[in-house]
Symmetry: C2
Subunit: 384 residues, 2 copies
């Protein structure tokens, strides 16, 4: 039984540091966890919903497994307005990580998947759990029967698709965790074309799309033809600080069909209804508040704050002469860092996200401003 | 692709009735969904937690996937006090239904499961989804490669275990949905013994345990030796009206080992960490309030209310000469009802829970008092 790779190296490194320097204040820019309070307009809506549950008029029991109709409609009109995604294409969930697993249960053990290398570990880990892979090959640090699509500075963090053998499912995260790079429109057109030519399904993870500053697509459905080949999963976690509240969604367009013509959405709906009972009604009330005019404005402010953090981190490493990637369209900075990272700022070793991450660290911009400033100071002291 | 059986017949029947009698007020005692407001001591705690998330001191991001330490400890000390279940054996979740699926992912497609017939449809449906079963056999209304353990009045709703062939996993719900019968201590000793003798794992669903009025075991861990063979799953849904809030838990004792000696809890922990990201922090604050002295008292009141409903339903059917089962230890009444149920009170046809439910209806006691009284009146008018 192989252990999961996810955040173990971080936890171990942190513990080792604390035992070595018990008085030091360790600053962790390692974990991609939000730190700033949720805007009050959103928490007030959740508190009101909680209170209403103790009234006869306000009480409700089981909601629809697919989510509240109003919230599904608000997600469709806010994020997919001109993309012809219907509210019935949207499945509200308790977060993207959970939906990734439900999608893997949908795909089953007989498929072959491809994944960006490096990438968010949940794609590979869930693939292992549902039995799609063969054994871990220690020498190359890869599981068998997964296509690792190398994404490195040399190829602009977009894989050379001509080298990819047949795959059924392509997990693709843009803006990417950990490299922070967003896929351009031309690249995404290329990916959709590849999926069309090969009969693959793309699972597009857009959990960081609101961090995009340039004209990179925020949704894969901006690409013509994507509805026939792509599922999109997203989340309120990194937009509104909902990492602990738990709320996300997955889009499965009715146009997406299995090779026998059966709609994928019908099978996904079956999984959702059998394996899930809807996101918490209080969290859903929060999601609806996020998408109100005040909520949208407040989320923009939160994201702006983390983007300022990102800039501080990018500038710090750049000023020291490091090769720095990401940051512009994502809260993650990807630093070429062949040696050991500084002991009093914890970052995540890039190899934790896949073999192509070797020699890099991921620096997360989620943190209180004072901690980010202190981290920048320490990094400068160590490496100047 | 076979459609799920779950609540479809109910929905269809209801719709048919509404179209036939558009002016009638249909009373649904069909769906097992709570109707009474959540006690204020519990909703206030959730509202407070929601508000605190907009403060620097109160904000928190990702929680532990296994749940807040405090809540795990409170569940252990409240429900498993003298049963030597440790807080680390408890995995907090977004509900029993979701945990049933995660357990099925853990068990995989190679196992054979047994299920009470009739029973809550999620056991069979999730088994079908992970690929444990063979095709549905229409003539006998059963999936292949599942052991349907017949539970009928003739055997006191406890299966004849001597007729059961080898099974790996036994899903067992007590008090049972839909029959409302609770397993006695002697029966449960027998079940644990059977699992020990056959190397099976029992998944004991105790979602209705607080409805028990007699001395039937509320937890399978009351039976000596159960920790070596049983997982227990439970929920705040039917205790505190959390059907929409979403909160439950699963107990996987460290004493439970796979045949190769590997602890089941370690693998389940891996599933939980990969496929789930913890229950909503607001819902967990509600769970903790449920287990406070005031919360426990308030939950007792809610359950008492539904038990009064149950008594009205039982008395109604008994006064008309029907054979009535359940009700004493569960919010479900199981009525022998070979004909068609009355058109203006919707109940659930027993066959929706498995072939042995044929000729019965399940009457749910979840409802406002006025509706229960009106239903009782209509039933009496129809069948007197």
């Amino acid at each position: 039984m192989l252990l999961l790779r996810s955040s173990r190296p971080i936890a171990r490194r942190r513990a080792a540091h604390i035992s070595k320097y018990p008085d030091a204040q360790v600053i962790s820019l390692g974990i991609g966890d939000t730190t700033e309070p949720i805007p009050e307009v959103i928490t007030s809506a959740m508190a009101m919903r909680a209170h209403s549950l103790s009234t006869v008029e306000g009480y409700s029991g089981y909601g629809a497994e697919q989510g509240d109709k109003k919230l599904r409609a608000a997600i469709a009109s806010t994020y997919y307005k001109d993309l012809a995604i219907d509210e019935t294409d949207i499945f509200v969930s308790d977060g993207a990580k959970c939906d990734i697993s439900r999608l893997q249960v949908l795909f089953g053990s007989e498929v072959k998947m491809a994944v960006q290398d490096p990438s968010y570990p949940a794609y590979v880990d869930s693939s292992v759990i549902v039995g799609q892979t063969s054994l871990f090959q220690k020498d190359i640090e890869k599981y068998g029967n997964i296509e690792y699509m190398r994404c490195v500075p040399e190829n602009g963090f977009f894989p050379d698709l001509s080298t990819i053998s047949h795959v059924d499912i392509i997990f693709f995260c843009s803006p990417n965790n950990p490299t922070g790079s967003a896929t351009t429109r031309d690249q995404l057109i290329h990916l959709v074309q590849f999926a069309q030519d090969n009969g693959s399904i793309v699972v597009f993870d857009s959990a960081y799309s609101l961090y995009i500053s340039d004209d990179s697509p925020r949704s894969i459905y901006e690409i013509p033809g994507a509805k026939e080949v792509a599922i999109e999963t997203s989340s309120f976690s990194k937009f509104a600080g909902f990492t602990g509240v738990r709320l996300g969604w997955t889009v499965v367009p009715k146009e997406l069909l299995f090779s026998d013509g059966f709609p994928v959405a019908k099978d996904f709906n079956r999984i959702v209804c059998t394996c899930f009972n809807g996101a918490s009604n209080i969290a859903q009330a929060g999601g609806l508040a996020c998408l109100s005019p005040e909520g949208l404005k407040a989320m923009v402010e939160t994201i702006k704050f983390y983007k300022e953090n990102t800039k501080i981190i990018v500038d710090t490493f750049k000023s020291l002469g490091f090769d720095v990637y990401g940051g512009r369209n994502a809260p993650y900075v990807w630093v070429h860092f062949p040696g050991e990272a500084g002991l009093d700022v914890v970052t995540t070793p890039g190899s934790g996200f896949g073999p192509a991450g070797e020699g890099f660290v991921r620096v997360s911009a989620f943190g209180h401003r004072a901690n980010i400033m202190e981290a920048a100071k320490r990094i400068k002291q160590l490496y100047k």
